[in-house]
Amino acid sequence: MAMKTLLKNKTTRTNGITYLVVIAVFAVMQVLNGAGLLGSSVKGYLVPICVYISLAVSLNLLVGICGELSLGHAGFMGIGAFSGIVIAALLQDTIPNDVMRLLCAMVGGGILAGVVGFLIGIPVLRLRGDYLAIVTLAFGEIMKNIVGNLYAGIDAQGFHMAISTSKMKLGEGGKYIINGPLGATGVQKLATFTMGFVLVLFTLFVVQNLVNSKEGRAIKAVRDNRIAAESVGINVTAFRMKAFVVSAFLAGMAGALFGLNYSSVTASKFNFNTSINILVFVVLGGMGNILGSVISATVLYVLPEAMRGLQDYRMILYAVVLIVVMLCTWSPKFKEKLSIVSEKIKSLFWGLFKKKEAGTNE
């Protein structure tokens, strides 16, 4: 009975479906992996897919739910990646357990990204519309350039950090963690598919819970009608800030996992293109549609990778796919057909479910 009332609630149902899809895909991939059916290239995609799903879902909170266009999401990802790498390197001796160290790095990267998000949010969230997009775009570029000139290392005296080579003086036996334009090298690969899965679940948990709470309602209210939201006692700036910081925090966590998945990472990885890619995942998945972000992030990440065999033509095909999807989702005729199909699938699914329930009642 409780299950029935739970299922009646539409939002709980959609959330449940999202979790189910993610868990099912993870289980299938684990089984395939265990059976040795996954090629090494496919294995290599698993962690980045999880990272991009988390990034897409967190950006969806900002763009879809809060209605603010941000073009600097890769900046937060970069902050998370490099701070995560530094934290993981510093904790190498203190925490021998890889999983614990990775967790610390992710949480640390997330917190730092969140703090930076808060700081730039103070001036940025006074702006609206195009201005916010421009400022976040600039932020992403600034972050990329700062990190690209950052030197960090450890020696006997402890941790050193500087913004130019001349100021960076490492003692005997010192080791660079981040070496300016060369990026982070010799990173210990801590990231695992399981942690990626946990990150995706965590991101979904935070975003979906937030959306279905009073905070989420306030955020949506700010998006729908700022003046009306103010008139019912909602502090518009505070809620835009909450969405911005939570989104940055989650992006930082995903970034940390991303950084710790490669033996070397350069700052140029977190450029404008990456920000736009994440935004494309969100837009194609549907604004405010969490499951849509998950699916489109997966498909659109795999697509160009899978088309590597086509070499020069793959980005053209990628663009064609994007255009076709956009045209299809805009076309009322296509939408109609899609809804018929989805209704059929739904009725099939519910039919099965009801039969099962009837069976248990007997």
């Binding site: 937030l210 905070e215 949506k220 209210a221 729908d224 009608n225 008139s231 006692g233």
Partner: protein, 285 residues
Amino acid sequence: MNEYSKKMLKVPTYTLLREQDKDKQPVLDVRNLGIDFGGLTAVDGFNITIGPTEISGLIGPNGAGKTTIFNLLTGVYQPTRGSVLINGIDIKGMPTHKVNKLGIARTFQNIRLFTDMTALDNVKVGMHNGIKCSFASSVLHLPSYYRSEKQANEMAMELLDFMSLTDVADQKAGSLPYGVQRRLEIVRALATNPSIILLDEPAAGMNPSETTELMHQIRRIRDTFQIAIFLIEHDMNLVMNVCEAIAVVNYGRIITKGTPDEVRQNPAVIEAYLGREEGKTDAEN
């Protein structure tokens, strides 16, 4: 006569407080309010006192500055002159969301609902500050989240029921008929637990039977919640029947205040609405 009244034209010196409001602090006390937009004086020397359970109306020809006054009362605009006291507290310099917390809620002339959200969620957004649930609890869905959500749901359904909107609770606010949207906006305003509610043309776009129902509902809101209501309306039938006191503005100034009967017979009002003309005696109806 106090110092604020000097600038005003013929305004009765008595207040129109209801018997039960006589000794109580007025819920809204506006003194010599004025705002200039550049060189244009949109509102000037606006004074009004509204008792805790009074229904008052604000009428005047188009462009008289009525909505501007509402925007001043709710902190959307900052006044150039004068002061607004809500429950005795000056709203000077406060942002709109803080002014709302003092106990003033409003509806809008051009409906401003959260169109992509359900009617129920619209009301729950209105209850935002009344829901006791921390940010952490919201994110983690702790037991206090479920408790507060359940409470909020019940209260919101009760409020919807009060304006006979139970049937549309699950529908998107943007898809509702015009008259229903207006009523939903009133419910959302009520959900903020105000001590005065400002209605900006609540009957606009409603048919006569809807308007009649609205009249009953406005009275019922006052009687049930014991709050003050201040409304702008062009439908004179509604204004004259529902309001206990009426202020008439033209060119941003009050031209008269009084009971419906006094206002109806006031030559200044007739002039404002119909212009100066020999032989005209009746303003409306």
